[in-house]
């Protein structure tokens, strides 16, 4: 452990990785319950279009990526409301629109040199600026999530019931959408799009297997994400693997183990019950 942590880049990786592991699943729980699991993918691909547009128009590409993310997230909300029974359609449309726009725009970017570097970060190469961004966004997300905890809970479970219960659904959805967009654009640039889109879903899926309530799902998801990041980064360092991919696969493996474990547990439980009854 000490050998690994003597390097500044590893310390940064752990700090940024753990902060994001705390907040991305918080956003993720709501996103998953709203049936928008692929939100992370859709937004990170849309930010590609933002980078390209930023480079063409001479705006700061990071700003462009953030703006594109917000626009994409709001479009998802709008389309979701037009076709409420098929919420995932909105993701598919925005995802393909984002990739399409990026493809068309990138053909006009002169000197596409750092096109990728504006977009896809690596968890082992995080600058001071990015670390600051991550800390800022994490604090903001955590505060808003706690402040709107009850409202988000209602909306995630049933928007119509939430409206009847007097929750300002439109306003909360708007704030949450902006929050998601900002989180994705910052995290994708810092630790990579792969980590973001899987951290939104995999820990939540693991938590849903075990937790009985919304509150426990939220807490378990964050704990799972933190464990995946710790284990994944450590493994990547000592076994010589790509860090982002290792973190993601750690999560998937854990989910498989939980599902298998539940099966075995249930089988053992039913046998015992039978033995007791006979």
């Amino acid at each position: 452990m000490t050998a690994m942590l003597q390097y500044d880049f590893m310390r940064r990786a752990f700090v940024a990785g753990l902060l994001l592991a705390l907040i991305i699943p918080c956003v993720g729980v709501v996103v998953v319950l709203k049936r928008l699991s692929l939100m992370g993918d859709a937004l990170s691909h849309s930010s590609l279009a933002g980078v390209a547009a930023g480079l063409i128009m001479g705006i700061n590409p990071i700003l462009g990526a953030g703006a594109a993310c917000v626009a994409a997230a709001l479009s998802i909300e709008v389309i979701r409301h037009k076709i409420p029974r098929y919420a995932e359609i909105s993701i598919a449309i925005v995802l393909s629109a984002g990739i399409g726009l990026a493809g068309v725009l990138s053909g006009h970017v002169r000197g596409a040199a750092n096109f990728n570097s504006f977009l896809f970060g690596s968890i082992v190469a995080i600058s001071d600026f990015e670390l600051g961004l991550v800390v800022g966004v994490s604090l903001a997300v955590l505060l808003v999530f706690i402040a709107l905890y009850r409202e988000l809970f209602f909306i995630a479970l049933d928007e119509r019931a939430a409206r009847i219960a007097g929750v300002p659904v439109a306003a909360v959805n708007f704030i949450f959408t902006i929050l998601t967009a900002v989180t994705v654009s910052v995290a994708a640039r810092t630790v990579g799009a792969l980590i973001v889109s899987s951290m939104m879903v995999t820990p939540v899926a693991c938590a849903m297997q075990l937790a009985g309530s919304y509150k426990r799902t939220v807490i378990f998801s964050a704990v799972f994400a933190v464990v995946f990041t710790l284990v994944g980064l450590t493994l990547a360092y000592y076994v010589r693997l790509k860090p982002g991919a290792t973190i993601v696969l750690t999560g998937v493996l854990c989910l498989l183990l939980i599902i298998a474990g539940k099966k075995i547990w249930a089988a053992v439980g039913s046998r015992r019950r039978k033995e007791r009854n006979s």
Binding site: F9, G111, V124, G192, A236, R240, A245
Partner: protein, 322 residues
């Protein structure tokens, strides 16, 4: 419900009309300044080159007898690039296509097979160069990164191999346009001498440097290092863009500290984030060492070519090896 049909039809027509009226994409233009004589003379040989060094070499051999188009646009990392439809259209009309080969352009075989241009002469410029195997430069076996074919394609970074590439390109020009063979021979002779001179400059400048190890962004400098007795310690494998392994970064940092390396090299076309992270860790500077896979717009505007960038590389190497 009935009213929706006219709207749908109108939208479809409008979309079709917009596409039909939009002027077709112009074919990629050569990034160099002297494009003003395009299409003024139909006599000119239409030559396509896959990426910058091929373009530069073909332009030098072809001189004013050829109109050379560089397929990979300025500022694009050629490892990632693939031709678009407009490029294929251009190739259909071309007389000569110059590519590096040795696994650099993974799309070449497919594209050549798909072309119906029977007249097109395709020349693999790296033919005849003794290729290095991928990953050979590194002592650590685990680090062998496979590129297509398992060879290191960056042959042009050794001026003498660049000369072989130019000779191959000259032969192709002579084959396509035998009437002007003396002209191409002359051009080749002139640049072959210049390449020998460049090689001599590298050789004498790097004859006895205080150290021989350089840390580079990706493993592009195998031929350069082999020619002048340098050792490259690459952060990435032969392909330029991928996520680095933290263990590899730790090794590089240890290596840099052990050899008191003061400069971490990066490339214009690849994100400098990793190089900057390592430089910050060991208190080194970052500087550009160009693998010449493409020029930036600024370099193009400044009139840089193979020779000037190679000399900038030599200067950068000399300061780094102090």
């Amino acid at each position: 419900m009935k009213k929706i049909w006219p709207v749908v039809v109108a939208i479809c027509l409008a979309l079709f009309g917009a596409v039909a009226c939009a002027s077709p994409q112009p074919a990629p233009t050569p990034p160099a300044g002297n494009t003003n004589e395009i299409e003024s003379q139909t006599e000119k040989l239409s030559v396509y080159a896959s990426f910058y060094p091929m373009y530069d070499f073909a332009r030098k051999i072809g001189g004013d007898k050829a109109e050379v188009v560089c397929l990979t646009p300025a500022g694009t990392e050629p490892h990632d690039w693939e031709p678009a439809a407009a490029d294929i259209v251009g190739l259909e009309k071309a007389a000569l296509f110059v590519y590096n080969g040795a696994g650099m352009e993974h799309w070449v075989d497919d594209v050549l097979a798909a072309l119906s241009n029977k007249e097109l002469v395709a020349v693999e410029a790296s033919a005849g160069v003794p290729l290095l195997e991928g990953g050979e430069e590194e002592e650590d076996e685990e680090e062998g990164h496979e590129e297509e074919g398992g060879f290191d394609p960056h042959v042009w970074l050794n001026p003498l191999y660049a000369k072989i590439e130019m000779a191959n390109i000259r032969d192709a020009f002579v084959r396509v346009d035998p009437a002007n063979s003396a002209y191409y021979e002359d051009n080749y002779a002139q640049y072959a001498a210049a390449l020998d001179e460049l090689d001599g400059e590298f050789r004498s400048a790097l004859a006895d440097p205080p150290r021989r190890e350089i840390i580079v962004a990706h493993q592009a400098f195998g031929y350069l290092c082999a020619a002048y007795g340098l050792v490259q310690e690459p952060i990435e494998g032969l392909a330029a863009d991928s996520e680095p392994e933290p263990a590899r970064m730790a090794e590089i940092i240890a290596f840099a500290e052990e050899h008191a390396v003061s400069v971490i090299f990066f490339e214009e076309l690849v994100s400098p984030k990793v190089a900057e992270t390592i430089a910050a860790a060991v208190g080194a500077r970052t500087e550009v060492l160009s693998p010449l896979e493409g020029l930036s717009d600024e370099q193009t505007a400044a009139g840089d070519d193979y020779f000037s960038v190679m000399r900038q590389n030599l200067a950068a190497l000399l300061t780094a090896l102090q």
